[in-house]
Amino acid sequence: MSATTTPLTNKSAGLGFPKLKFRAKHLLYLPLLLMAVFYLLPVYVMLITGFKGFEEVSLRTMWDLPSTIRFDNFVEAYKNLAPALWNSFNMVIPAALISSFLGSLNGFVLAKWKFRGADIIFPLILFGMFIPYQSILIPLVEFMRSINLYGGLPGLVLTHVIYGIPITTLTFRNYYATVPKELVEAGRMDGTGLLGSYWYILLPLSLPSFVVVIIWQFTSAWNDFLFAVVLTSPSNWPITVALNNMAGSQIIAWNVQMAGSLLAALPTLFIYIFLGRYFLRGLMAGALKG
């Protein structure tokens, strides 16, 4: 038995490297740093290119730092993308709020007031978040045409709300399932009905879940391309479609494209930086295991 080399009091979360290997543990920073470089490389290029003046931009010197900080590229990109950025905000905020609210209602009923057939309905709803949207795209376009919502933002909002229902329902259901039954039952004894127990008992407890779900829906609607490109006309293009169009054009230089990419990424990046904890929880909910 070689147990003597491994002090049981070693509190490090991981392997509990024996003392003589202590230096070896620091070697682990090497692969970690290398990987961090891999993940940050595109950001580095986006940033340094964005801050270069027009005269300094050349593919040959792509990796060199800018000699002075200039905002030409951002100004130019913003001029091109501003309408699309606002379209995105106008579309994403209502979409995120409405689908979160619906998800909260559904989650509440499915977790606390199960009706007959709920166990069949729930998986059927969930399946909706995995389908390739190509399989419903033609009917969706035809339907939006027939109700006169094709081409504009309201149709896109409606689409995001509906296809957002599965994930928002799932997240809220899993959250409400952790709320003790006794809380709801105590309310029932006091004569609080269904709506009352939702409004007075569960909703006030739901703030963290709302944050998780709203930022998740915000991010996925902001980042969506397929629905947007199929359902909106150019004046209503959200940022992803406008950026892709800009990148495909021969007229707009790559440095402006880089600045545009950063502008397009900023809102969700801010959310990630400041609310990362909630973002991560939404991410894990998507894998079903909350």
């Binding site: 040959r60 007031w113 709803i125 399946f127 909706g128 399989s135 391309f225 992803t240």
Partner: protein, 295 residues
């Protein structure tokens, strides 16, 4: 009595959502199936029934063969790459090093960004130009003396789609890492300690204790990533536009339907995509919901 009223009310509360899902998911799928069995070409809908003809044509269509080949290559590169990178990063981060949360945030941030942004940036990183017009990663490799790494990226014949897989790994491996990290954190430390007391080597502990416990996570991750690669679309569009050598079913569907107005063919591709996703996802949903019920 109130209980009775409440159970009606509960159904009323969820029925708008249920109705919406039934129309927009299942109703639309049925509608797509009907389109796929029709001869609809051009702007006006035409539901003349032609049986499986569109599907049969697809199986003979050289472009669809390219799509399948590309999907297979992309899936292999993307899934294997994300799993290997994900578990490696998770194990490294699980060693209790300082700065863990910083590294975790760095590895995960691409998840917050759209495929379009990723695609536009990687398009310039993977610029295939050679000689004096060399730039991006090729230029970096060349400056570092790693000329053997200089390549044509997505323009590489046959394997070009693997370059898109690389950008997809960049975007999604952090997610795999997060799944594995959650799994590692769920393993009781006593298990490791017991093995260490028995003198097991670190390698042995990982090989015989930790990896088997992570197997269910690997399976979930494979299914989630696998179904994502069947749907890959925006990333390819943003890196390379519509190029036949990088074609995949999702792009073919979009192009043939909305540019070419071959609605029936587009619907057939959509339904085939759905079937391939369903084969992965339905068993996964059944398994997950069943294990959940047991807990």
């Amino acid at each position: 009595m109130t209980k009775n009223r409440d159970s009606i009310l509960s159904v009323l509360l969820v029925s708008p959502s249920i109705l919406a899902i039934f129309i927009f998911v299942y109703g639309f799928i049925a509608w797509s199936v009907r389109v796929s069995l029709s001869s609809w070409k051009g702007l006006t809908p035409d539901y003349t029934f032609v049986g499986l003809q569109n599907y049969l044509e697809l199986f003979k269509d050289p472009r669809f063969h390219i799509d399948i080949r590309n999907t297979v290559i992309f899936t292999l590169v993307f899934v294997v790459g994300s799993l290997v990178l994900g578990i490696t990063l998770a194990i490294l981060l699980d060693q209790g090093l300082r700065g863990e949360s910083f590294f975790r945030s760095v590895f995960l941030f691409p998840m917050a960004i759209s495929y379009i942004v990723t695609g536009v940036v990687w398009r310039w990183l993977m610029n295939p130009a050679m000689g004096s017009r060399m730039s991006g990663l090729n230029l970096l490799f060349s400056n570092m003396g790693l000329d053997f790494l200089v390549n044509q990226w997505h323009l590489t014949p046959y394997w070009g789609i693997a370059a898109i897989g690389l950008a997809a790994i960049w975007q999604m491996s952090g997610y795999t890492m997060a799944l594995y990290l959650a799994g590692l954190r769920g393993i009781p430390p006593e298990l490791r300690e017991a093995a260490q007391v028995d003198g097991a080597s670190e390698f042995y502990i990982y090989r015989h204790i930790i990896f088997p416990l992570l197997a269910p996570i690997t399976l979930s991750a494979m299914i989630i990533l696998g179904h994502m690669s069947l749907k890959v679309f925006d990333l390819i569009i943003a890196v390379a536009g519509k190029q036949i050598q990088l074609d995949v079913p999702a792009i073919y569907m979009w192009q043939t339907t909305f540019d070419g107005l071959f609605f029936a063919r587009g619907a057939s591709i959509g339904i085939l995509l759905l079937l391939s996703v369903a084969v992965l996802i339905i068993p996964y949903l059944r398994y997950t919901l069943r294990t959940e019920a047991e807990v």
